[in-house]
Amino acid sequence: MDLRVKRLDPYRLEIPSSYKPGMNGRVIVYADEAIARDIEAGALEQAANTATLPGLAGPALAMPDIHSGYGFPIGGVAAFCARDGVISPGGVGYDINCGVRLLASSLEAKGAARNLEDLAHKLYAGIPAGVGAGGGLRLNRREQDAPLIEGAAWAVKQGLGRPEDLARAESGGALPGADPRAVSNRAMERGRGQLGTLGSGNHFLEVQEVTDIYDEEAARAYGVFKGQLTVMLHTGSRGFGHQVCADSIEAMRAAAGRYAIPLADPQLAAAPFRSTEGQLYFGAMQAAANYAWANRQALTGLTREIFEKAFGLGEARLDLRLVYDVAHNIAKFEEHELEGKKVNLIVHRKGATRAFGPGHPDLPADYAAVGQPVIIPGDMGRCSYLLAGTAKAMRETFGSACHGAGRLMSRGEATRRARGRRIADELAARGVWVRASGRETLSEEMPEAYKDVENVVGVMSGAGIAKKVARFRPLVVIKG
């Protein structure tokens, strides 16, 4: 670790603003000694680069699942003043509103064990996943604006969800400032047939069992109990969001000279939030965020149908309820308290999850006392977590926490290490049915390719940013 990086306490490091020229504030990295040993130097450099952008509010932040991205690191949070700060597509990433949702059934996992192999086959056949997967909802150009404006509510109107699902999604599953006119024809074309598809890479659908409850009060509020059969779903805005990001980076690069924003990395391309380019990106990004919420809602509808067939039970008996849906690649207009004053900020979370504490007005009434559910997927062999946001997160991290385990190995290294092994058989021996369509997906995504999420969550919990509520183990994994 660079000697200029200082340890503040057992869970936090500080990169001072003197670390590199042009930094407008310090960076706080949430990492204990063990996590810090695995952080790449390049990721810390990227975290420092984010602090060079104009209008930084408070410190830039890095979560314990930090790893190198392009521009911002994955696991990065940076807030900029809405009045005179910037917005950066590099601070959100290509997969706009990539996120996770958790569904909880009325079933106990042990009673469902004999159905799991059949469920795995049915989910693999019924959930469009992987490169070039067809099967998505195909909309014509006139129909395409509705999901961009309405988000998850659009999918509910199509019969792919329940009205009560909407209150269980961050921001109600739709951001109000979406502007389809700010979206290119190319993005529209890429998004046309991809609603209701999982995608590839680290996206997944997992059937899980709740193995541990750490906070009875929060678990009760969220409707989660030990032994329960649950579903975790991880996907985003697909090609639509990828194209919105690519288009915006080009537009902001072209405008860079006009705003004289020094860029430590070309992928940090940014424009003042109040500028034409900034507002166009914000409108298009919110449309992509709503596309992602519509996508996860559509997949929820498909999942419920498949569960009903696999278990031969009706909707009411299965009661596959949405616990919550969180975005982890997004920039949001939020009010926070900074140095005793309320300020409007553009909070960029790239590989970071909103983690609002108890009493926040954006939370559903029945979650208000315990804080926002924060869903943290691990890898496909070990476990995932449900956390709850805290008041401390509101004070220290703009109400943000980690988003997952974070990669430890490159895809190439994981593939090399998996050579000669049968990852699916290894996982089956651990009681996990896994199905994937890509030729290298299982190798690239094998459990050892990721940090142990236990350690990542341990830092968040130890630092008081989010408290542990429940732990899940995978039973069925569907990947692209």
Partner: protein
């Protein structure tokens, strides 16, 4: 054909070297097809691409993003590309004919789904009479 597939922590990349800008871009197209589909591709379909950019970096990123767009919207991958290109600063351009076919899963293996080409770590240089490029793709 001279390209290599590289891997970053969460992403993948391509490096290539060639005598001319056009050959360099053709090699990157071949590398892209290898990432997206491991198996052999037929050359029974064609697409044309024309692009202009201020810098060689933008031209390369926009060319690869064009390949991403064709793969995402039509499943089309190029087995080979005939590219004429200029990296003249301020007036970079290319004309490409892509020869390939749409992915068909009964014949092709599914490879990586590329979200976009990025500017992060992008390098392009000319040394020893060869053009060299390195680009990271978001997976």
């Amino acid at each position: 054909m001279s390209f290599k597939i590289t891997t970053d922590t969460g992403d993948a990349g391509l490096t290539a070297e060639a005598a001319t800008p056009g050959a360099l871009l053709a090699d990157l197209a071949a590398g892209f097809a290898m990432l997206a589909c491991g198996g052999p591709l037929e050359k029974n379909n064609s697409r044309t691409v024309s692009l202009k950019a201020e810098t060689p970096e933008s031209l390369i990123v926009n060319f690869l993003n064009e390949l991403v767009f064709l793969a995402d919207t039509e499943g089309f991958l190029a087995a080979a590309a005939e590219v004429s290109a200029s990296f003249k600063p301020g007036a970079c351009e290319l004309e490409a004919t892509l020869l390939g076919e749409p992915l068909a899963f009964e014949r092709h293996q599914r490879g990586l789904l590329v979200k976009a080409a990025t500017y992060h770590g992008l390098k392009i240089e000319r040394a020893g009479g060869l053009w060299r490029a390195a680009i990271i793709l978001d997976i």
